[in-house]
């Protein structure tokens, strides 16, 4: 039982991060049909930015805030300079643009920061908390509650504010949204900005656990994309469920099957899910969006 619980803790800690990245993918996809492979790099900007600002003497909370703002600026620039001018391009071309952007961001990061791994101090110490024979780090609770807060904030924003409703309307039908007077371009920019902010916050929350470096974004993008897909692309709940599912699968794979093949175990499970539910867990049977 203690072992099972330990694996659950491990899986949830990692899974929450995947879920946050997947949420970023979902938001941008809903607003613009673009799969943004630079999503993982926002996580890096949040973590590395905070590390470097803090080591330059800026107080940690302020450093974190500036890092998040920096990520938002990068997200907005990405939309304005790279996605907007190519609006008419096919989905694969848009994916290539975001991959190019991801390489570019990493390339700039390795010059502006460095090539070493960095960490941040845990927010409230690193004394493990014992629960029924298993242990969990306080930082994992920070990550989980941070993710919950982000998710709650996002759904409130989407349901209660005019801007959020405009975003939902744009996601549902871009032409109709334009007809009722929504500034679609501004809404798309908003989606990129918010997803960048989510990514950066995730990066700050997890850096004390996972450490960070200029190129950690690739792995986050990979796992986050997988999480968004297995959950059903475009569904916020799916992103959360997909992220947690992959995290748990990896932990159980490592604990019960083989630590070497835990990633294979996770991906085989994803393939099985997709064979049974070709549109992901929450994808339903709706008509293809593209």
């Amino acid at each position: 039982m203690a072992e099972f619980l330990q694996l659950v803790f491990s899986g949830l800690t990692v899974g929450v991060v995947y879920a946050l990245v997947a949420m970023g993918f979902t938001l941008v996809y809903n607003a613009s049909d673009v799969i943004n492979f630079a999503q993982g790099d926002f996580v890096m900007i949040g973590g590395m930015g905070t590390v470097f600002l803090a080591s330059a003497g800026i107080a940690l909370p302020l450093a974190a805030l500036i890092a998040v703002l920096a990520a938002v600026v990068v997200g907005l620039l990405l939309h304005r300079l790279a996605i907007e001018p190519a609006r008419r391009a096919t989905p694969v071309t848009l994916i290539m643009i975001t991959i190019g952007a991801s390489i570019f961001i990493k390339g700039v990061a390795l010059i502006a920061f460095d090539k070493q791994f960095h960490s941040l101090p845990a927010f409230s110490g690193s004394d493990p908390i014992a629960v029924a024979g298993a242990t969990i780090l306080p930082q994992s609770l920070w990550v989980a509650s941070g993710a919950l807060a982000l998710f709650a904030g996002l759904s409130l924003f989407l349901k209660k504010t005019l801007l959020g409703k405009a975003l939902l309307a744009t996601a549902a039908n871009r032409l109709a949204a334009r007809l009722v007077g929504i500034n679609v371009a501004a809404i798309l920019a908003l989606a990129f900005g918010v997803s960048a902010a989510i990514g950066a916050v995730a990066g700050i929350l997890v850096t004390p656990i996972t450490l960070t470096r200029y190129d950690v974004g690739t792995l986050f993008a990979l796992k986050g994309f997988a999480a968004a897909m297995v959950g059903g692309m475009g569904h916020p709940f799916g992103a959360i469920a997909g992220g947690l599912a992959i995290g748990l699968l990896e932990a159980f794979g490592a604990g019960y099957v083989s630590s070497t093949y835990k990633d294979a175990v996770a991906f085989l499970a994803i393939l099985l899910v997709l064979f049974v539910m070709p549109r992901g867990l929450f994808g339903g049977r709706s008509v293809e969006r593209v």
């Binding site: 190519a86 290539m96 952007a101 010059i111 997709l274």
Partner: protein, 316 residues
């Protein structure tokens, strides 16, 4: 006029390719340039395979380097552990790629769009993981040596020899791809690319045509991987890795989706560019990313289709 022909006719495309292949050794100042050109031919062959999957059949594959890895390790493992002739290993590796593509493709090609992308991505990851983990057979992450290829007692070695071997392989591959393109199968595939529903309505057996394209594409990549392994004399598991899969997709898209010339130009772009950018040192990665973005923003349909349009406009 010739330029226009090169872009529009099958024979023109092949003649242009042959002309470039004959020209390069005459102007290459050292064996380094021949090696880079040989790498272009090898990756163009793999990209050509992906072109058949993506460009003709319209299916996204983010795990195509997995087949590159299977083909490469076939020529490494065959001679080493099974005492097979390298050439026979190459053939068996290509066959294995086709078989794996058939078995994997049958279920996953039912998925659409990004769901297919993630499934193929998973396939590529699993191949790379197996190659890196089973070190008793594959040598692990540091890779394994590959026995030299000999054809009828003649040892294939040296940059110029490999240049011609790889050029020959690409030419053959291009010839076959152009014939596929012009065949009824090719027309059916392109109908698929445009609209699956319309193609099905017109009586095309959508599932089997997609599977056929996937199998052919895998065999191309497998042979390319085998040539890479034999030329380098060493193979490492990252050959099958995610980054190489992305690189292959980038070649196809940047060159121009759906044409033989596009695959070759795209491969040349991504093989030559990093060599040209080395003097930038630390800035290399940033500039590479920037160039990919700029090309995709301003030439969204790829280099070759854009050039073709320009040439045709001028010709008319």
């Amino acid at each position: 006029m010739m330029l226009a022909a090169a872009f529009t006719s099958r024979r023109g495309t092949l003649l242009l390719l042959v002309a470039v292949m004959l020209l390069v050794p005459l102007v290459a100042p050292s064996s380094f340039y021949l090696r880079v050109a040989a790498l272009v031919w090898i990756f163009a062959l793999a990209a050509l395979g992906l072109t058949i999957v993506m460009g003709y059949a319209g299916q996204v594959s983010l795990g195509h380097a997995g087949f590159l890895g299977i083909g490469a390790y076939a020529v490494a493992i065959g001679p080493r552990h099974l005492a097979l002739d390298p050439l026979l290993s190459l053939a068996l590796g290509a066959l294995l790629c086709g078989l794996v593509a058939y078995l994997v493709g049958k279920p996953i090609l039912k998925l659409k769009g990004y769901y297919l992308a993630i499934a193929t991505l998973g396939f590529g990851l699993i191949v790379a993981l197996v190659l890196a983990s089973e070190s008793a057979v594959t040598g692990g992450p540091d890779g394994m040596p590959v026995a030299r290829l000999s054809l009828f007692g003649w040892r294939v070695t040296g940059a110029l020899t490999w240049y011609w071997v790889t050029a020959g392989a690409l030419l053959l591959g291009a010839l076959l791809a152009l014939n596929v393109e012009a065949s009824p199968t090719g027309r059916a595939l392109r109908a698929l690319h445009d609209s699956e529903i319309a193609a099905a309505g017109a009586g095309v057996d959508v599932a089997s045509k997609k599977l056929a394209a996937f199998v052919i594409g895998a065999v191309y990549a497998g042979i390319a991987g085998a040539l890479l392994a034999l030329m380098n004399g060493l193979i490492t598991p990252e050959t099958a890795g995610f980054m190489h899969s992305i690189e292959l997709v980038a070649m196809v898209i940047i060159g121009g989706l759906g044409s033989v010339t596009g695959a070759v130009v795209g491969a040349a772009f991504l093989v030559v560019l990093p060599q040209a950018l080395t003097s930038l040192q630390e800035y290399e990665q940033a500039v590479l990313g920037l160039l990919i973005m700029v090309f995709m923003i301003f030439l969204p349909s790829g280099i070759v289709p854009t050039l073709r349009r320009l040439v045709l406009e001028r010709a008319s």
